[in-house]
């Protein structure tokens, strides 16, 4: 191999190194992703409630089909919810996602099992002022909501979970 003049060697480095680094970055991402440690993400969702919170419809459907209960209160990571909500059902999380289509997805799977649940979700949507979800749920339910009551149910559950965690 011929020795390149120093000027040219510098130019070769300048033109090659950044693009090579980009490829290394992509391959590093790929390796970490395969190892289950996806960079720049919160990692995989841990349950159906987290999937609903993040409005990840395909994950909601996958976990529902894997028989995760959308009515059960699941722990959700604070870095995902960014709020005081730490324990929610997947249906409540769907309201928090602010997307009517997530609620509709549950509805299509017959996961909103009774009128009481539908009313609770509608009141929660009112408390969170999610008009899109209110419009959707109002098609099949009416509710005489006490402002803040539905939200308080979720928050109390979260506080309870936190206290339980702290006492342990």
């Amino acid at each position: 191999m011929n020795r390149e003049p120093p000027n040219r060697a510098l130019a070769v480095l300048a033109i090659t190194a950044p693009s090579l680094l980009a490829t290394v970055a992509v391959l590093t991402f790929l390796a970490l992703d395969l190892a289950g440690r996806t960079p720049l993400s919160h990692g995989p969702v841990r349950n159906i409630a987290e999937a609903a919170f993040l409005a990840q419809g395909s994950e909601v459907l996958r976990l529902f089909r894997a028989r995760e209960d959308p009515m059960r209160a699941w722990p959700v990571r604070p870095e995902i919810t960014s709020s005081a909500v730490m324990r929610v059902t997947a249906l409540e999380a769907a309201v928090w996602s602010r997307r009517a289509q997530v609620i509709e997805l549950f509805d299509r799977q017959a996961a909103i099992v009774d009128d009481e649940t539908r009313r609770h979700l509608l009141c929660l949507a009112h408390d969170l002022r999610v008009q899109e979800v209110i419009d959707y749920l109002s098609q099949r339910a009416t509710a005489d909501c006490t402002p803040g009551e539905a939200l308080e149910i979720v928050l109390a559950r979260s506080r309870e979970a936190e206290a339980g965690g702290a006492s342990r």
């Binding site: 390149e4 510098l10 070769v12 300048a14 090659t16 980009a22 919160h42 969702v45």
Partner: protein, 490 residues
């Protein structure tokens, strides 16, 4: 008219230069192919994560599966809006081969297309020296990071037509720039027929052949080039006989100025005289290719700057494109004396082919502006930049110190900018988790489309594809918006 194909400064002299073998391989070529393979692994990983999309994916498969291959292709000759029979034939062949393993075959085919494209890219730029190999990473970053290429990888149609035409354009250039052989004439003609009957932009394959010939490339003979001209004439005659028109203003929205106009607005504004709108689209297409602005006819970065915003991805795009275009212009300027006397080397021919395809690609984009329509010219931009950058490296060794310092700084910014764009292209593919979500909401989508699936085959196909997208190949963890916002374009 005569043209002389001579060896210029960027070409190697001798039968097997720099230790290359009869196949044209030496250590630098092998290294370049190995690097390209690494890039394919990276891109292929992200591509294989995306399921076949619902819109124009599931629906196209249900249509492609009907009847026999012959009847499907034949019926497509009588569509009023488009002449794309071989797109459907291509889809049907792969559908039959898949034997129900749709995800593996169709997504695997997309990855295979990327692999083939990378091989053709390295073949075209022919890296046989250290300097030539040194610009391959930049070239591949441009190929993948170019905004016109996004649709060729993000759109998860069963067969990505745009990718098919980019491949055909590269293959046409490879045929044209090779050693003269009779079979290249035949292959070039078949390639043109395949591309033109796949999608309208496939006509650019002929532009590649003619431009390369006019620039002195003799891989395809004059008879081969004449055959291409005859085929193009035949194509337009066919469209005339079959009364296949061009898309009108009322068919889709299009960018204009700082915003997008809906079809009714386009009709109201340009219905009586669409020429200014068509001229705008052609001009915008050229500007977009060279400067990454406007995008789809809309001056997005300019608009953001006017509002006092500084969108990082948009600025990176424009700066990297401006520098890349400057490098190609510099190459043309430095080769002007040879060009005047029609003395062209391989690098010249590639740059000339890019120029011709850019103009033709912009011309066929007159109807509306869309980045991905420019994908053949965008991919050839990457080729032209690669050979221009190699030329710059050859020239830089003997330049004065101050000029070298400036050049090195600009080269670093250029390469860094395209590196970021390449990473962005990969991140966008991961962010395309929407394709998975489409399958969760397919029943709502079908309802909105007013479609009711009654055919048992379509119902089973939907079930299988949904199962692929949701359960067999579930979405991987989504990227946090706060971590990747600077990749997103305005």
């Amino acid at each position: 008219m005569t043209s002389t194909n001579t060896v210029g400064p960027s070409d190697e002299v001798g039968a097997y230069p720099n230790g290359s073998t009869e196949l044209g391989l030496n250590q630098w070529t092998v290294l370049s192919y190995a690097y390209a393979l690494l890039c394919v692994v990276g891109l292929g990983y992200f591509l294989f994560d995306s399921p076949i999309q619902v819109s124009d994916g599931f629906t196209n498969l249900t249509k492609a599966a009907n009847g026999t291959l012959g009847s499907l292709v034949y019926s497509e000759f009588f569509q009023r809006g488009y002449l794309r029979p071989l797109l459907w034939g291509h889809t049907r062949v792969l559908f039959d081969l898949s034997s129900g393993h749709y995800f593996e075959w169709f997504r695997g085919w997309h990855v295979a297309q990327v692999a083939l494209l990378s091989v053709l890219f390295v073949r075209l730029v022919r890296p046989r020296t250290l300097l030539a190999a040194a610009v391959v990473p930049l070239g591949l970053s441009v190929l993948v990071g170019m905004h016109t290429f996004a649709g060729a990888i993000r759109e998860a149609f069963p067969i990505n037509t745009f990718m098919t035409i980019v491949l055909c354009s590269f293959a046409a250039a490879d045929l044209a720039l090779g050693q003269p052989r009779w079979w290249r004439d035949v292959a070039a003609a078949l390639l043109l027929v395949f591309a033109a009957l796949t999608v309208e932009s496939g006509l650019l394959v002929a532009v590649v052949g003619v431009a390369a010939y006019l620039a002195g490339a003799k891989g395809v003979s004059r008879y081969g080039v004449a055959a291409q001209v005859v085929l193009i004439t035949g194509y337009f005659l066919l469209r005339f006989v079959l009364q296949i028109g061009a898309p009108g203003l009322e068919e889709r929205s299009s960018g204009f100025g700082f915003s997008s106009l809906e079809p009714d607005e386009l009709v109201a504004r340009f219905g009586s005289n669409p020429t200014p709108f068509h001229a705008y689209n052609v001009l915008c297409s050229i500007l977009s290719l060279l400067f990454s602005e406007p995008r789809g006819g809309t001056f997005v970065v300019t608009s953001a700057l006017v509002r006092g915003e500084l969108p990082p991805a948009g600025v990176v795009n424009v700066v990297s494109s401006v520098l890349a275009t400057m490098m190609i212009v510099l190459f043309v300027w430095r080769r002007r004396d040879d060009w005047r006397v029609r003395r062209f080397d391989r690098a010249d021919q590639l740059v000339i082919v890019f120029g011709a395809v850019a103009l033709a690609n912009a011309a066929i984009s007159y109807g509306y502006s869309k980045d991905v329509i420019l994908s053949p010219a965008g991919a050839l931009f990457a080729v032209a930049l690669t050979v221009s950058a190699r030329h710059a490296l050859e020239w830089i060794g003997g330049a004065p110190r101050l000029r070298v310092a400036t050049s090195v700084a600009l080269l670093a910014v250029l390469s860094a900018g395209w590196g970021v764009r390449s990473v962005s292209a990969h991140m966008w593919l991961r962010a395309g988790a929407a394709t998975h979500a489409e399958w969760a909401y397919i029943d709502s989508w079908l309802e909105r489309q007013g479609q009711v699936l009654s055919d048992p085959f379509a119902i089973d196909l939907k079930r299988r594809l949904q199962n692929d997208a949701v359960s067999r190949h579930p979405m991987r963890p989504a990227l946090r918006d706060d971590a990747v916002w600077w990749f997103y374009e305005p």
